[in-house]
Amino acid sequence: MNWNRRVWTWTVVLMIGIAIPAYATDDCEPCEEPEDPTLVSQGSDPCRPKAEGAEVENEPCKECDGAGGIQNKEDGASCKVNGKDGVCCDGVCYEVPGEGEDPCDWASSNQGKFSQAIQDEVWGDTNCFGYVVCINGDTTECVIREHIEGQNSDWTEEMINCVCVHELNHINAGANCPPCGYGVGTFPDAETKKQGECEAYKAQWECLDDIEPETELTRSAKNKYFEYMLNDLNCPVMPDPFN
């Protein structure tokens, strides 16, 4: 009988000993940890805050704030996403181009990370010659050379380079980019776009003018862009053919 009683007592004690921490663990928030059972039995809370900066499971860009809550890691902190290097932005880990990797090449081979509209209207539209890729607010100017070549099949490499000069030029006019994640920059407004286009066409025209020796095609192109700037864009400043 005594033996039975003892077994029962120990069984109950053992079950309580297992149940309290288990219960406490389940009940603790991600940035809390179970308190010492002895302290709990003396009236302490069953969970205590983890130290500030402690990792949060499955959240590579979040950390504990030291008071039991979760906070975002600082923007720009390194992280891993699907085993690849990333950078934190607003609490989310975004994969970024590797060290030395060209962001334009990276974007082109990671098109799926961009919205469907961007995929369709940038890489999918052969009229799109250039864009600014935005990765966590960092901008890089990109040219889609295949699109330019496809639309100007009889142009020489030097003339194609002048279109690249155009794209790279007006990209510098400023781009609206999302602060985090992946996007493509756009002109802030119509006036900026117009000014940007005029400057870019002027740069392209001057680039064509520098090609030696001049050919029928380079003269034709200079004529076309001059007319376009004058009559269609109504540019305030035109290239100087006498320079």
Partner: protein
Amino acid sequence: MKRTWMLSFIIAGSFVVSASADIMIVRGRQRGAITTNTLNIRAEYDVTEVGRGNMPKKAVEVLFKENTGTPALSSDVILILRGPSFSKNPDFGSYSLVSPDSAHGIIPYSSEAWTAVLKKTDEELSDAPESERLPAREAIGLLRKKLYEVYETPRHIYYYPPRRAPYSWSLAALCVRNGAVKELKVRISDTGNIISETPNHYPIKFFDSADVSAEEMELFVRDYHRNTPPDEWPTWDPEPPSTMSGSTAEEHESSVPLPSNSGPMP
């Protein structure tokens, strides 16, 4: 420093004026064949007489877009040209015709025609008389058809006010495709031909979803033109129920709003 800036501004400004108004009238003899590349039609002439303007070149090439009026360009012609020259060769000029259509800039020579052309002012030569211009409404109708051709199912179309260019209209429109704002600029000659078309080569705007409402586009248009004078704002086109083709396009023709200075629809 200020003076340098002002001086450059004045020089730039005066160049713009001279570039657009520099009309030359020369008599020329055609040499070689008329050729076409992806950008222009091209014909070459020896300069035999200068009627107006500063023409230092012995020979010129003239560049234009269409050839409607002179089916067989005669060898002895009157050329109405617009500067500047795009050639660096001191003896060989490269000029635009005064009109994209050779009919207005390459005229078979006769002494009567030569006298008549020389009597006209630069202003008269620079554009067609109003009675011979393509009505702006028709030009916009052609732009709309082109939009449907280029963008297949454009939504929320806005037309910029048409601008007059030599013997032609310069038009532009915004629309939405796949949740992105697209632009198309065209030049339409008074003969009703689209002589150049330029879609945007650089992204303008991406909406969060492909299904863009008229209100969202309207808000974008207002915000996008916040720094543009209101008389240059585009005007909304009430869309037809389906894609433009055949009779639908014709039925819709009458409802096309002629862009005004009133800005976007409220």
